[in-house]
């Protein structure tokens, strides 16, 4: 246990040290040769979310399945059925009996995984132990749509299609608080870096800011992009993914063909582009990554952005302004999932429905 604590402290220390010392002016991203694929499990399996393991060379994916897929990033690609090129195949973890895993996160120490399922259960797993969860609790009264540890790993928040957000003690998985935040299913959540606020985005097109100390919703931001989910292939409604900048000043939200950047001090929308689905902040400096088929890596200019205030419910799909200079574009070919390694060395993104690509990042 002591080793775990030291390791965790080490990760936090190196993280803080990097934050303090490392402020790159630009990034260069080079696509790596290897790809990481999920083979068919009777049906094709698709990626949904990605996370790097913080201390081991492993990439974890929530996929359309009852298990998580975990790739060894040092493994050599091999021939795989249905794949034209050699690829790295995953190991599996955190299997539930029914339904699919619909949200997950890895503890900042890398010691534990948390999964939430469409079966309403929240499960805590020891990293590397596939046999059974350490803890299994009733999570929500609907699908568990998002799971996120706070940056210090002490707390856990979950969001569900039951329109509720729940806070948990991440050690014992005891429920600490519950609040209602949205009128339609919640799709994603994130913590402020200082652990004082939780941000949730939902199909209702709202972003809700909850202050833990006050135990109340302190702000609601408009994202829009709402539809009634009618017809054969309705667009994703509202917010799909949220990300917060390392300094806690900027919030990025992505939905179908819509990306918004918010100034969290003023609540103003400062940038909006036709970029879909995925967004994540680079852990050092001021870089945000967002998009789908063509994913942009953008360098923010805070001085310029702080002066802006756009209409969040402007004409649907209207481009009202970029978040910053595009310094790289990641070519993808559909598929959900985008992640940056906590030390900033690599970016992972789905490059197909069931294939993930990696980019090596050089800071300049």
């Amino acid at each position: 246990m002591r080793c775990i604590a030291f390791a965790f402290a080490g990760v936090l220390f190196s993280f803080c040290a990097l934050n303090a010392q490392d402020d790159p002016k630009s990034l260069v991203l080079a696509k790596e040769d290897a790809t990481y694929s999920v083979p068919n499990n009777y049906s094709p399996v698709r990626t949904v979310r990605l996370r790097f393991h913080p201390t081991e060379p492993k990439l974890i994916a929530q996929v359309s399945d009852k298990r998580l897929a975990i790739w060894d990033l040092n493994a050599k690609p091999q021939a795989a059925k249905g794949k034209k090129e050699p690829t790295v195949l995953p190991d599996y973890h955190a299997e539930q009996k029914e339904g699919w895993i619909t949200g997950f996160d890895i503890h900042p120490s890398g010691q534990w995984l948390i999964t939430g399922g469409s079966d309403r259960k929240l499960r805590k797993w020891a990293w590397g132990d596939k046999t059974k969860p350490l803890v299994e609790v009733d999570g929500h009264q609907g699908w568990i749509e998002a799971v996120a540890y706070s940056l210090d790993g002490k707390s856990l928040a979950t969001a569900g299609s039951d329109l509720k957000v729940r806070l948990w003690d991440s050690d014992g998985m005891k429920s600490l608080d519950t609040y209602s935040a949205h009128a339609k299913p919640i799709r994603d959540l994130t913590w402020s870096p200082d652990g004082k606020f939780i941000y949730t985005g939902g199909e209702d097109g709202k972003i809700v800011v909850y202050e833990l100390a006050a135990k109340k919703i302190v702000r609601t931001l408009e994202f829009g992009n709402v539809n009634e989910q009618q017809g054969q292939d309705p667009a994703q409604s509202g917010v799909f993914r949220l990300a917060i900048s390392p300094d806690g000043k900027w919030l990025a939200a992505a939905g179908q063909n819509k990306f918004g950047l918010y100034n969290l001090q003023t609540g103003n929308l400062v940038a909006a582009e036709n970029l879909g689905f995925d967004t994540v902040f680079y852990p050092q400096g001021r870089f945000v990554i967002a998009g789908f088929n063509d994913t942009k890596v953008m360098r923010l200019d805070p001085a310029k952005l702080e002066k802006l205030s756009l209409d969040p419910l402007g004409k649907k799909g209207k481009t009202t302004g970029p978040a910053g200079d595009t310094i790289a574009t990641l070519k993808r070919n559909s598929g959900y999932g985008l992640a940056v390694h906590p030390n900033g060395s690599r970016v992972a993104a789905a490059v197909g429905e069931s294939t993930v690509g990696l980019w090596t990042v050089t800071k300049k």
């Binding site: 009777y42 698709r46 359309s64 029914e98």
Partner: protein, 438 residues
Amino acid sequence: MVRSPLGSCNLQEHTFSRRLFLQGLAGSGLALSGFDTLFSAAHAQEVARRQKHVILVYMSGGPSQFETWDPKPGQRTSGPHMTIPTAITSVRFDEFMPNLARLANRMAVIRSMSTPSNDHVVAGLHTQSAYLPSPAIASPPHWLSICSRLLSSENSNGLPPYVTMGDDGRTFPTPGPGFLGAECQALACPGNGLPPSDLPRAGEAEIAAQDRRENLRSQLGRSFNQGRPPELVESHDVAFARMSTLMRRQVSFDITREPERLRERYGASALGKDLLLARRLIEHGVSFVRVQHQRGGAWDKHRNAFRTQRHITAEFDHCVSALVDDLIDKGLWDHTLLVCMGEFGRTPMINGQGGGGRDHWSRSWSLSLGGSGIRGGVVVGATNADGTEVRDRPVSVADLFCTFYRALGINHRRQLHFRDRPIPIVENRQGEPINELF
């Protein structure tokens, strides 16, 4: 007040009392011959026959059997949806159907539909006409057009026998009246609980103007009609006459006259409003209603299926369960056949298209029906463990139509005639009714 042919002053109460009376006769085993002066046996049968109604809730695009009536929890073919118990022991439905699960002992489910076509157009025509479309034969009528020909009620209160709602006809074609002609054509309502489009305001002046126009049309048509097939002329005249009377019956299309509590129960969705309108029309004398659930192939979930399916399934569950409860409360359930179906089901395999979904699958799929004497709580047939094949009691389209017609008191071997040519109401007179449902 419009009086029925039997002289009742109130159609709803009248219908109810006749129903009870006929049930009483059946229950006590009394011979109808003893009541010749009141009712002849033939007359009683005719009255009972006239009272049959149908509401077809068409789930256009093909609903997934895995995410409705035949889930396969824990199997390789299952998606993220969970399952819930129903009022029938050991039978589970999709988690987003809690109300229909509660009503499972009122409705029957067929889990072993097996049909030949995976094409929307072909399967849509087949499952709504009992005929596989063929370039060699004229378009067969919709089965509700056939019902309106065979069960046309004198108690229609001036309303057309057959009404459709929400079918824009742009995505997939819906069978029309075919050789039965305009008389059996459905009156189209646009959906969302709205009355027929472009219906003139029903003031005295407008009605008088419509009557004048109709008289003029009738007079001008006399010479044109001479020498033309009388059945076609009559068919058109009937259609025009219905339009004239329809103007006087607009209140039947006004769902705002329903109690607020009931409107809330059906909900604010287009389907909820349409099903409330369907029930209201049935009460007012319309016999057959086809309601399309959302426009286009809304159940055709190839992409991003499982999350969006939650919404459409929950809406379907909410609205259809409200209809079932309402039909039961109003005493209409026993003579209203409710059918909920699409043209086929969805593949066991989950495809890889954006967000995942299921493709067309006609080999093993499900539907639900109830009312009009159909035994509730019955599950017909079964698929294998992962739903890839029918395991027990395959049901064909012909079997299904034989069942519909039996529930409506129509001889399923019956033939119609088009220019002296006999045309069976079920293709090639195939199929047998599903006896377990009666």
